[in-house]
């Protein structure tokens, strides 16, 4: 039986009249990784800062291993936070940066520092200064420094967003594997759904101060709770605030009439190619919504097309947030 490492109950945070966090609750098992995904400015960073102890929640409680830590200051909590920027101390070498984390949390042993340096592949650069290593190496060092405090939970605030895309891809898998190997409980904040799916066992879609849905990628895709989740996943055509249809159920044709279908007129605006397949970007005349539809074969498309949707494939949002 796995134990609950982190649990938050009804957390709210208010800045002046803005309710940034609106009654958030969730639990994390030991070793579990949760991605929190949401648009920029939705308050994801605030959530992490509250968890880390940098901000006090307006209301609500935070439990770690069953103990209430809501009033504990950041330097007393067993939570580490890796920021967007690596924020290495410029006057310390790579090794000193990692050792610093261990020393201030009074968990310093030279072997641990060595092991961590080895794990992040920085043994060779241990005496280099942050200004002398690359962005990816800096971010890995920052991660090792956070790990050196032996945190119960480690929080990531878009740690790859300042890196260029090619580096980002590699580092994602590296961090994910690293966390799994170390059996670290983690929360990973990002605005990129793909990154969220790679990093997290569970994905929490966060918008307007609330979790719109928490679940595995498959659940989110197959039964999105509401139109916010669906539009974030991008795999559905949203018909209205009650109903949606998976993109793969939509058929394109040049004639409007078919049995048991709902039909929309559309204009093909672009054809792009992704993962080896052509994608038609279609604007639906009636609603103005834009849908990217994967094309099955290189059929000749006219500019004006009809989208027919079998009535049987139309689904209703579940409207609940639980798995």
């Amino acid at each position: 039986m796995s134990s609950i490492t982190l649990e938050i109950k009804q957390i709210t945070k208010q800045f002046h009249s803005d309710l940034v966090l609106n009654g958030l609750s969730f639990q994390l098992q030991k070793g579990e990784i949760m991605s929190v995904v949401g648009p920029s400015g939705s308050g994801k960073t605030t959530l992490l800062r509250v968890l880390a102890g940098l901000e006090k929640p307006t209301n609500g409680t935070i439990y770690m291993n069953g103990r209430d830590v809501t009033k504990q200051k950041a330097n007393r909590r067993d939570i580490s936070l890796v920021f967007q920027q690596p924020l290495l101390f410029p006057h310390m070498s790579v090794e000193e940066n990692v050792a610093y984390g261990a020393k201030v949390s009074k968990k310093y042993t030279q072997e641990k520092v060595d092991t961590l340096l080895e794990a992040i592949g920085m043994t060779k650069y241990r005496s280099h200064f942050p200004s002398e290593i690359s962005g990816g190496q800096q971010q890995r060092t920052a991660l090792a420094r956070a790990m050196a405090t032996e945190p119960e939970v480690i929080l990531f605030d878009e740690p790859f967003s300042s890196l260029d895309p090619s580096l980002r891809q590699g580092l994602r898998y590296w961090v994910r594997n690293f966390l799994v190997e170390q059996e670290t409980t983690a929360i990973f904040v990002t605005h990129d759904m793909e990154e969220a799916m790679i990093m997290g066992d569970q994905i929490a879609v966060f918008q307007e101060g609330k979790f719109q849905q928490i679940g595995a990628a498959k659940v989110l895709h197959e039964s999105p709770a509401n139109m916010k989740v669906a539009s974030f996943m991008g795999g559905h055509l949203i018909l209205n605030d009650q109903e949606y249809v998976p993109l793969q159920a939509i058929e394109l044709s040049s004639s409007p009439f078919k049995e048991d279908t709902q039909t929309f007129e559309g204009t093909v605006e672009h054809i792009t190619y992704q993962h080896g397949r052509p994608i038609a970007h279609i604007e639906i005349k009636e609603s103005g919504a834009k849908v990217p539809l994967p094309l099955t074969n290189d059929e000749q498309l006219q500019n004006e097309v009809f989208l027919s949707i079998p009535v049987s494939s139309i689904q209703r949002f579940r409207g609940t947030i639980d798995e």
């Binding site: 940098l54 901000e55 006090k56 200051k73």
Partner: protein, 286 residues
């Protein structure tokens, strides 16, 4: 580091303790200038404004320090503007800081050594036949126009102006200039649309610092000034330390006048700055 409200306020305690020193000093000076052995009176201020010596001194002080301030600012700004790229290197920067290594009065002494009637320049002029006798050399120190005082202050304050403005100039991103250029702007536009908005807060602060200092410091005018007209600081110091204790309240009153004037000027400048900043903020939001 984000501290909780209370511990952050604790950090302000030393500053509060410190601020009580000048505050107490100023309040005492005001109360001394307003009391005649225990009773409230405006008598000293009446005496002050009826005194020709004080009025002449006040006028002379304002004129001298205003001239010194404007010259320092203009020269310092021009210098920074033209040379800020060179000043990023260590050696040129250290060269410019040389006058800052010395107290004002030492620099004043250097000015006397250089420019007095028997000074180095005068002797050189005599030697090269520029003047026939040292009497012909213009009186530049201990002169009735405050030239020596202004010269010393400008020489000493220009490095300070450079020190204050240099970080601002180096922080202006060159893209801004490129932007003005591509939009068809002139050098004039570059200055007023790019530099002035960046410089304004620091510039105003520097003007205030230099003006307050030159208006109220004692050492330089004591060395390079005449007895009439004299700078207000010298007059007040004489009254404070003069032969009779009866003049002390006058010393307080005159210094309070200067303080009041400087406070009003500072307040007006900050109000202007705040308005400008507020406007800039609102502009960036829309």
């Amino acid at each position: 580091m984000k501290l909780s409200r209370n511990s952050s306020l604790l950090l302000f305690i030393p500053a509060l303790l410190f601020m009580s020193i000048p505050l107490y000093g100023l309040v005492t000076a005001v109360s001394q200038s307003l009391s005649d052995s225990g009773t409230w009176t405006f008598d000293y201020y009446r005496q002050l404004f009826q005194s020709e010596r004080f009025m002449a001194s006040l006028w002379f002080s304002l004129r001298t320090s205003l001239a010194a301030t404007l010259l320092s600012i203009i020269l310092g700004m021009a210098f920074t503007r033209f040379f800020h790229t060179l000043l990023e290197k260590m050696a040129p920067r250290l060269t410019v800081w040389i006058p800052m290594l010395f107290p004002h009065f030492v620099w004043g002494y250097m000015v006397i050594l250089l420019l007095s009637e028997t000074g180095v320049l005068s002797q050189l002029a005599l030697l090269t036949g520029g003047i026939a006798d040292t009497d012909e050399f213009p009186i530049l120190t201990r002169d009735p126009y405050g030239i020596g005082i202004i010269l010393t202050y400008v020489w000493k304050e220009v490095p300070l102006v450079i020190l204050m403005l240099l970080p601002v100039y180096t922080s202006i991103r060159p893209e801004y200039y490129a932007l003005v250029d591509t939009l068809g702007g002139t050098a004039w536009n570059r200055f007023f649309t790019v530099e002035v908005p960046h410089l304004l807060p620091v510039l105003i602060e520097t003007i205030l610092i230099v003006f307050s200092f030159t208006l109220s410091a004692y050492e330089v005018p004591a060395m390079l000034g005449t007895t009439f007209p004299e700078m207000i600081s010298v007059l007040s110091y004489d009254w404070f330390y003069g032969s009779s204790w009866e003049d002390r309240p006058l010393a307080f009153a005159s210094m309070v006048c200067v303080s009041f004037l400087l406070l009003v000027v500072s307040l007006l400048m900050y109000l202007y700055l705040n308005k400008a900043r507020w406007r800039a903020m609102r502009g960036s939001r829309s």
